[in-house]
């Protein structure tokens, strides 16, 4: 993931607008590149996609994929939906938040880890499920998640 760069961001926005893409496609590409959408992008997004700044802001806030804060180096998303609940996802979530001191939706002080909720990864017959930096995880228990967390902190 790259550090936020206004020029690079503007390039992405212009390319998307010129290609005839919609606003959210530009937001997607910004998030894929930088991990989040900086406030600095709101004005150029509004200009290029013929929306008000409020509308751009609204779109960023509406979709959970579009973060407005820089995430940690690693992003762990733990499924909170029913199927995973039925096999103890809440316990796993509590274990992670207790172990890391990060609550759902927050990033650690050293910027190493962000923990987010996710509502269903489609791994419902093998929960609890999660995803770490694009790598799916299933049949989680405390031992498994412990190993994963120590892999991140080292």
């Amino acid at each position: 993931m790259h550090n936020w760069n206004d020029e690079h961001a503007l390039q992405i926005i212009e390319d998307c607008a010129n290609a005839g893409h919609v606003l959210t496609t530009a937001l997607r590409q910004l998030v894929d590149c930088f991990g989040f959408v900086d406030d600095a992008a709101i004005a150029p997004l509004a200009t290029h996609f013929l929306r008000s700044k409020a509308e751009v802001y609204g779109s960023i806030q509406y979709y959970s994929d579009f973060r407005d804060q820089k995430p940690g180096q690693h992003v762990l998303r733990i499924c909170q939906a029913e199927s995973c609940q039925a096999v103890g996802s809440k316990k796993i979530t509590k274990f992670v938040t207790a172990k890391t001191g990060i609550s759902l939706g927050d990033t650690s002080d050293d910027n190493r880890l962000t923990v987010e909720p996710v509502y269903c990864l489609g791994l419902c017959a093998n929960g609890p499920a999660a995803e770490l930096d694009g790598q799916p995880l299933a049949e989680l228990d405390e031992a498994k998640i412990n190993k994963i967390l120590s892999g991140i902190s080292s």
Partner: protein, 510 residues
């Protein structure tokens, strides 16, 4: 072992198998084969849907494919020692794949080749009957195709169960220079994964269904709205579309027919309500997924105000066989007005979960008895929730209900997308009711008050020590009657079913 012969090994590349270590398994197999100087070819197939046995490794033998279940990289040495390449005996052997009872008891139509072929091999797709339906459709007029779909009795598999043929007819009859086929692949219901499995395991089937829909209705533009959580499916569908383009099965002048259909993938951004068709259209237009009021129907004024067919993945995947075998054939499967097959998904606290495709009409009990082998934690099943977060929780007394749209409506439930989430004895039903409101509050688009505020009030009412049941019932009534879409109007379904069937969990805590 003949070191010269190529041994074919199948290791699913699907998201679940990878979550359980399939990539590490492939690496270990490669290393070990090299060490033993044995030539192997590893095919990353889709999933067979036998989720309880993932990673399910298969080898091609003269007698057919032999399966080994729950295989990890740690098993590789012993598998080679057991001569698994010839189907040798091993503690993890499941025998011939097609004879695994869990699979043999199913009637697979839509998932007939999922997990069998290389998902991106156009040749294997065609060899197994792929594009037979499209081939026929290319010889037919739009109204002839729609006639077959009407005859088939196919209904929307996304949850609402609306007759697909009527949707198609409306779009066909609506004048418009530009029309769209939108595939709803925003499979957000917990406990459902059939869309994911088919897109990862048999992507050309979905493409075939969409092209047929395009020819039938005169739409030349297709888009798959695919949720971002399905990372692998996004990649797979994009690659499959490129291969289909190169093979002239999509794009301009398809197979010399003069028909054109372009197809793209649009990735969602994490919003459950975008699975609602009008919210999905808003999202495709680059806006927040806030529901539209109907009318106008999307079939008349849909994407960018143009006539649009919106169908679920499984609905579109059912289409090729209807064209190939005829609408009558499809109508002969199932019960009453629930025709064809439904891929059920058994999930949650389940010993043997996965995908089970059967014609409509078997009872819930049969599904649970014949396939699940009970709960994962060994307790008795306390409840099942059918049809996603907005579906009813059902107690064992109702397990004799037959799987069909009308049969489920009759007990105040919905069959939805075929997801069945199983709960064991330790489940606290009041917590589940609280969660139903919590989820609605999290995912509400905020357009209408009953959903936006009602969900929060509902959560608060259930979080207090002494709950006021009549007040909750009142709130539910308001949400049912006053919400703009199913999100708010159906959240009371799980809540009220929980209060009805497990009143003991809602007694005062004091």
């Amino acid at each position: 072992m003949n070191a010269q012969a190529v041994n074919r090994i199948f290791v699913p590349g699907d998201m679940l198998a990878v979550a359980l270590g399939a990539d590490e398994l492939v690496a270990a197999l490669t290393v070990e084969a090299k060490k033993r100087n044995i030539s192997i070819e590893i095919i990353r197939n889709g999933s067979r849907g036998i989720c309880w046995a993932e990673t399910l490794l298969e080898v091609q033998t003269d007698a057919g494919r032999v399966a080994y279940g729950n295989v990890t990289a740690a098993d590789v040495t012993s598998l080679f020692d057991a001569n698994f390449l010839s189907g040798g005996d091993h503690e993890k052997t499941l025998g011939l794949t097609q004879e695994i009872p869990w699979l043999a008891k199913q009637e697979r139509v839509i998932f007939n080749r999922c997990g069998i072929i290389d998902p991106l091999s156009l040749n294997e797709f065609i060899e197994t009957g792929g594009f037979a339906g499209l081939g026929k459709a290319l010889q037919m007029s739009g109204s002839q195709i729609v006639e077959q779909i009407l005859q088939s009795g196919l209904r929307g598999r996304g949850g609402a169960g609306f007759p697909t043929g009527i949707k198609w007819q409306t779009v066909l009859d609506t004048a418009g220079a530009i029309k769209h086929i939108v595939c709803n692949a925003d499979e957000g219901d917990s406990g459902t994964f059939s869309d994911r499995l088919i897109m990862e395991g048999d992507p050309f089937r979905l493409i075939e269904g969409m092209v047929i829909a395009g020819i039938a209705t005169g739409a030349e533009h297709g888009v798959i709205y695919l949720r971002s959580e399905y990372l692998f499916a996004v990649k797979m569908m994009k690659e499959a579309i490129n291969i289909a383009l190169a093979g002239n099965w999509v794009g301009a002048n398809i197979q010399g027919s003069g028909k054109t259909f372009d197809l793209r993938v649009f990735v969602g951004a994490g919003s459950y309500v975008c699975g609602e068709e009008t919210a999905l259209l808003e999202s495709l237009e680059g806006k927040p997924g806030i529901v539209r009021s109907k009318p106008p129907l999307p079939a008349i004024e849909g994407l960018f105000g143009q006539p649009t067919v919106i169908n679920n993945v499984i609905t579109l995947c059912a289409v090729p066989d209807i064209l190939a075998k005829g609408g009558d054939w499809h109508a002969s499967l199932g019960i009453g007005r629930s025709t064809g097959t439904l891929p059920f998904q058994l999930a949650g606290n389940v010993a043997k979960g996965g995908l089970v495709e059967l014609p409509f009409g078997s009872s819930l009990q049969k599904l649970l008895h014949d396939f699940t082998e009970g709960t994962k934690d060994g307790s008795n099943i306390r409840a099942v929730q059918v049809g996603g977060p907005l579906g009813a929780y059902l107690p064992p007394e109702l397990f004799d209900t037959l799987t069909g749209y009308e049969e489920f409506t009759a007990i105040g439930a919905g069959i939805g997308h075929g997801g069945i989430v199983i709960y064991g004895q330790s489940t606290n039903m009041r917590e589940q009711a609280k969660y139903a409101f919590e989820f609605c509050a999290e995912e509400s688009c905020g357009k209408c008050t009953p959903c936006r505020i009602g969900s929060i009030r509902g959560y608060e009412l259930l979080a207090t020590e002494q709950i006021d049941k009549s007040l909750i019932d009142d709130l539910c009534e308001v949400m049912i009657a006053g919400s703009a879409c199913a999100m708010g109007a159906m959240t009371p379904i799980p809540v009220q079913s929980l209060m009805r069937y497990w009143p003991e969990d809602f007694e005062d805590k004091s």
